[in-house]
């Protein structure tokens, strides 16, 4: 489903990824963990073309993205097609503040996919029921709690019927009491078999939902494996060091 080969990327002259490879198969749930600044977010942003890279290739559902320098019209079109296949949820929610909840959800289906507004609204209400905030359809993002906003952001991404979902630290800017409601929505999604990549600091959740855990450190993948193995028997010193910092006891 997602295949990354030889990804090289620098940030303002600073090399971030030297050579990164990762494959994610259909229906797989991959959780990215690692210290802040280790490259988890950048990796996700390269996958859906929000960040450019210098070398390598990212393939999503058979569509290849190359180095995005001097992007041509065809390349731009490829990025757009990739984005239609993968939904993205951001740490900061990024709901459109000038649109109602329902407006946020139907905007892209109507404008991008050409779905008629009524059909889109019916679908949107179904999604709102799924994330348990049916009553807030006509509220504006500024009137919602952080947890509610993030759930709407997930619904907004799902409304495009993506084949995979990318979550970029979805709970990091939430108050602790709201983390649970967002994780439970993601849990349901995973339960339905959605291909999912999550960058997170929620280790318990990672252990619970992941098929595979990938440990990032300083722009490298230092270890990858099933959660039991990573959390109970980490093979590398760097993984051990990271886990000892984030896990209690």
């Amino acid at each position: 489903m997602i295949r990354v080969r030889g990804l090289r990327k620098s940030y303002g002259g600073q090399l971030l990824f030297r050579r990164l490879d990762l494959d994610i198969s259909k229906g797989e749930v991959v959780v990215l963990i690692g210290p802040s600044g280790s490259g988890k977010s950048s990796f996700l942003r390269c996958v859906n073309g929000l960040e450019s890279f210098e070398e390598g290739e990212v393939t999503v559902g058979g569509i290849a993205l190359h180095s995005i320098r001097g992007r041509s019209r065809a390349e731009g079109e490829a990025i757009r097609r990739v984005r239609l296949k993968v939904g993205m949820v951001f740490q900061q929610f990024n709901l459109f503040p000038h649109m109602s909840v329902i407006g946020n959800i139907v905007e892209a289906p109507v404008r991008v996919l050409g779905v008629d507004r009524e059909t889109a609204a019916i679908e949107a209400r179904k999604l709102l029921r799924r994330i348990n905030i049916e009553g807030k359809a006509d509220s504006y993002p500024g009137e919602l709690s952080g947890g509610e906003q993030q759930r709407v952001a997930i619904a907004r991404a799902l409304a495009m019927r993506p084949e995979a979902m990318l979550f970029d630290e979805p709970t990091s800017s939430l108050d602790p009491e709201m983390v649970g409601e967002v994780l439970s929505v993601i849990r349901d999604l995973v339960g339905e078999g959605m291909t999912t990549v999550i960058a997170t600091h929620e280790m318990g959740f990672a252990r619970e939902v992941a098929d595979r855990v990938v440990v990032f450190d300083k722009g490298e993948i230092v270890e990858t494996g099933p959660p039991e193995e990573i959390f109970s028997h980490p093979k590398t010193e760097r993984t051990r060091a990271f886990l000892s910092r984030v896990l209690p006891g």
Partner: protein
């Protein structure tokens, strides 16, 4: 939007975003082009049009041309009477075209008027630029000084002293040639006498009709010595327009022969020995309508004229603001999202328009462009001048608004599969414009007041109406208050609107 824009923008949707702005712009430019240029023309054109446009400056224009104190929306003066008489014999009506006195000849040359008749002295230099009719008035210069100043009785006594006159006049030449005189140049004919009365200068040398109206009537001033020099006023006609000149010469001769010219001059107390050069006829004087009366007229008599000026101010400001808003948006989008040649051009436009005075931009548009064959009507030039200038400021306000929208908004929109153009149009711009709205409204208020600058290009809006009326009545204070109140009545609602918008914005959400 063709392949050209397709090249300039990375994304087809941006073109559509620009569609609205550029469509509006196109319509506006089309209208501007269609707006009739009051092109002065040949005899045929005048007859066909049904009126003769004669250029003059009604500001401080007594007794030549000035607002009737009894009905200030209506002009009177000996040149008004003369223009009517000439037009009548051409079988058309006379229509006055307003412009600053020292810009009358340039405006004639660019085709704003058919003729210029406003105390234009026939001089060799001017003859190089325009045709002159037969003289219609013999002028002399008259020195005016303060009554309590006994030291000056002739030009020679002005050595080492300050003397005032109008720019570009024969009187100015006489004073300059006098040597040792500190010559002060004024642009209106009222101000030198005002300054003389309060002692800022020591003498004023100007044409006798002006001295009679503005100097002699002031109780603090007196004539010093007799008339100096002698010359002729002529009607200026654009070069090449010889048939019009011939026709007007014939009409002037006829007016002289029939005694109509003399009757006009007598009505204005302008008939004197020098005019006998024009004709041997000479009769008794009649009183003239003048400053005394207008100084006493109730203020309400000036209101219709001022309101008309306010109307023109509103028209000019709102249309040019519409242009500024749409052109500004186009500039910002090009600057932020266009490819290099387009973005650089937009940036250059913004910097040049913000970095040069609006007044000079107006002068170039109106008086400069005719040199390369583009002649804009005053309304069009005012609209384009103000609109194009303010567009640069609006562009910067929008840019600040766009930058203030969090980056995550664009990313979220893109991640949903939107193109950059669609994301811009649906997500970023609505938020950016909301942020920009109070700034734009404030600029509208500023533009309202800046619109007074267009009086330099022959637009008679509120400020120009005020200065014309005030100069003819000397009621600078009361009329100034009224004009200021009118400006305030127009801009205050906008301030309230701006504040409301700002509050709504702070309310967040919606």
């Amino acid at each position: 939007m063709g392949p050209l824009t397709a090249y300039f923008f990375r994304d087809r949707r941006i073109e559509r975003t620009l569609g609205f702005a550029s469509l509006f712009l196109a319509v506006v430019l089309l209208l501007a082009q269609a707006a009739p240029v009051a092109a002065g023309g040949s005899l045929d054109k005048i007859t066909e049009r049904g009126y003769l446009i004669w250029g003059s400056d009604a500001e401080g224009g007594a007794p030549y041309v000035f607002p009737d104190p009894r009905d200030p929306s209506h002009l009177i003066g000996f040149e008004v009477d003369l223009a009517d008489a000439i037009a009548k014999r051409l079988g058309v009506k006379a229509r006055q075209g307003q412009n600053a006195w020292d810009s009358l000849i340039p405006a004639l040359k660019r085709g704003d008027f058919d003729i210029v008749m406003n105390g234009i002295e026939i001089t060799p230099q001017r003859k190089e630029e325009v045709l002159f009719s037969l003289p219609y008035y013999v002028y002399t210069e008259q020195l005016v000084v303060r009554k309590d100043d006994n030291t000056i009785s002739a030009i020679g006594d002005l050595k080492g002293k300050k003397a005032g006159t109008l720019s570009g006049t024969v009187a100015q030449e006489i004073l300059t040639k006098g040597g040792g005189i500190d010559v002060r140049i004024y642009s209106g004919q009222v101000e030198p006498y005002e300054d003389l009365a309060i002692g800022r200068i020591d003498g004023v040398l100007l044409d006798l009709p002006i001295a009679a109206y503005y100097g002699k009537t002031n109780p603090k001033l007196r004539y010093a010595g007799g008339p100096i020099g002698e010359g002729y006023y002529g009607i200026a006609i654009r070069k090449g327009n010889d048939d019009l000149k011939a026709k007007i010469d014939g009409i002037l001769a006829e007016l002289l022969r029939s005694g109509e010219l003399k009757r006009i001059y007598q009505k204005w107390d302008l008939w004197g020995p020098p005019q006998e050069k024009l004709t041997r006829l000479y009769r008794e004087k009649t009183g003239f309508v003048g400053l005394e009366e207008s100084r006493k007229a109730p203020l309400s008599t000036f209101l219709p004229a001022l309101l008309k000026g306010a109307g023109i101010t509103i028209l000019i400001s709102s249309t040019s603001m519409a242009l500024a808003i749409s052109l500004g948006l186009l500039l910002t989008v090009c600057r932020l999202y266009g490819r290099p040649p387009l973005s650089t051009l937009s940036t250059a436009y913004i910097e040049v328009y913000r970095g040069t005075p609006l007044l000079i931009q107006l002068y170039i548009l109106y008086y400069g462009l005719p040199n390369i064959g583009i002649s804009l009507s005053p309304v069009t030039a005012a609209f384009l001048g103000l609109g194009m200038n303010y567009a640069a400021y609006e562009a910067e306000i929008y840019r600040a608004g766009i930058i203030a929208v969090p980056k995550g908004q664009m990313e979220a929109a893109l991640s949903l599969g939107m193109s950059q153009g669609l994301a811009l149009r649906r997500v970023v711009l609505p938020q950016a414009l909301r942020i920009a709205t109070p700034g734009v409204t404030n600029d509208f208020i500023a533009l309202f007041k800046d619109s007074s600058l267009v009086s330099v290009i022959a637009m008679v809006e509120l400020t120009k109406t005020y200065s014309i009326l005030a100069a003819s009545t000397l009621r600078f204070f009361e009329l100034g208050l009224i004009a200021a109140i009118l400006y305030f009545c127009m801009s205050y609602p906008l301030s309230i609107l701006a504040r409301r918008l700002e509050e709504r914005l702070k309310g967040g959400g919606r």
